[in-house]
């Protein structure tokens, strides 16, 4: 049991997502363009993504580790499903109905096409939305608490 315990925490610490490099990319020692290049990765190199920092993702490529531009990575590039259904929808049904019986096979609850087609207006929920609304001053105070400052950024040309 003692030996198994560390395994329980494995997904938390060792997040490693198989990914592919979509173009020839420099593997950098640090998450910065002017950092030293560890190695140049060829297009379609298979790597393991470990963590993200701004526009950079730390990866493992064979024995080498370092940072690549986040947008140079694509996940699940083979198109094959890597993992099964996450099961959240089924778990949700159990929580909502108390049983995982026929509900699961006849369609899930929540926001899917069928539910949208059948939906009747819920004016009580609509009225609730007002309760949580925030005004200009509330939004600005909240931004200041998080040390967010508004910046002028123009839209790109279409």
């Amino acid at each position: 049991m003692k030996a198994l315990l560390p395994l329980l925490f494995l997904p938390l610490i060792a997040w490693a997502e198989p990914a592919t490099v979509i173009r020839t990319t420099d593997l950098k020692a640090e998450p910065a363009s002017d950092a030293a290049t560890v190695v140049q990765l060829a297009e379609n190199s298979r790597v393991e993504a470990l963590e993200r920092k701004g526009g950079w993702t730390r990866i493992k490529a064979g024995a080498a580790q370092g940072w690549v531009k986040m947008l140079a990575l694509r996940y699940n590039a083979s198109g094959e499903p890597k993992r099964g259904d996450t099961g959240v929808v089924q778990a949700f049904n159990v929580a909502r109905t108390g049983s995982s019986g026929t509900q699961v096979t006849t369609g899930v609850r929540g926001l899917d096409e069928e539910q949208l087609a059948k939906a009747q207006p819920n004016s009580a929920e609509l009225a609730k939305l007002d309760r949580f609304a925030v005004d200009r001053a509330g939004a600005s105070d909240f931004a200041a608490e998080g040390k967010l400052s508004a910046t002028t950024v123009p839209y790109p040309k279409p």
Binding site: A19, Y75, E125, L129, L148
Partner: protein
């Protein structure tokens, strides 16, 4: 409005011309009605019409999935969303943000300034910058009136011109019901791809304006891309949006903006603290 006026004016001129040729059965009132209805059909919805249509559509979406029970998270999402909306060209709409009690991964923008995000999507995010990226994308849909224009186009295609006009200002209940049904179905059919790509590009800008790490939206798209595409929680979102990989490719055009604002705060700790009970 100008267009309706020109139409009316030209009909009046035509009527006057006819009058000179002494057409006795000319019904001036009917001509005026026709001009008014043509005006309705082409008129841009007013802001209050937009908000009213939005409320009707939002009530239907809430009929499919109610708000998540956690008041703290609801308030938090409203604070983030309202701050971002202030960075847009429509800062003073009656903005409302809501977390829907649904396991699916999705977010919705409703005309007039109501924005929903599902609990399933919130649960897969790791920072306020990621939440900001998604809310900014939805804010662009509202600012650019993507849904409103699609609803209007659909109404004109399926209703007569005067029914479409009176549906907008709720004069005709039957036409109004059709308009709202069409508006709700839109969330099953999706917008034009070009609207989604525009919301991604401009959404990145809104998040950067709000002071967030601009990579929030791309990070969420990568999370979606890493999920199993056949996961039932993704079905509707994947049906109504371009594939995440395609959206990430398109955001490559925004690399310089993304990089210029990549060191702004991500606020991962605040996000986790404020949403933990809802996730």
């Amino acid at each position: 409005m100008t267009r309706a006026f020109i139409l009316l004016a030209s009909l009046v001129v035509a009527a006057a011309a006819h009058a000179q040729f002494k057409l006795p059965d000319l019904n001036f009132n009917r001509l005026l009605d026709t001009a008014k209805n043509l005006g309705n059909a082409v008129h841009e919805p007013t802001e209050s019409e937009e908000i009213a249509v939005g409320n009707d559509v939002a009530a239907r979406l809430l009929g499919a999935a109610p708000l998540a029970a956690d008041a703290r998270t609801q308030q938090y999402v409203n604070r983030v969303g309202r701050w971002l909306a202030l960075q847009s060209e429509r800062p003073d709409l009656p903005w409302h943000f809501g977390v829907l009690e649904a396991p699916q991964v999705n977010a919705f923008a409703v005309p007039g300034g109501t924005i929903f995000i599902t609990r399933g999507l919130l649960a897969r995010m790791t920072s306020e910058a990621e939440l900001a990226g998604v809310l900014s994308h939805e804010i662009v849909h509202v600012v650019k009136k993507h849904h409103l224009k699609a609803i209007q186009k659909g109404a004109l295609a399926s209703l007569s011109a005067d029914a479409a006009g009176s549906a907008l200002n709720s004069v005709n209940p039957e036409a109004r019901a059709k308009l709202i049904s069409f508006g709700t179905e839109l969330y099953s059919r999706g917008l034009d791809k070009s609207d989604e790509f525009e919301a991604d590009r401009l959404g990145v800008v809104i998040a950067a304006r709000g002071g967030y790490d601009a990579y929030g939206l791309p990070a969420v798209l990568q999370t979606l891309q890493a999920m199993n595409a056949s996961d039932s929680a993704l079905a509707l979102m994947f049906k109504t949006h371009p594939a995440p990989g395609e959206r990430l490719d398109a955001l490559g055009r925004m690399q310089s903006v993304l990089d210029a604002y990549s060191t702004q705060p991500q606020l991962a700790e605040r996000f986790v603290a404020e949403t933990k009970t809802a996730r």
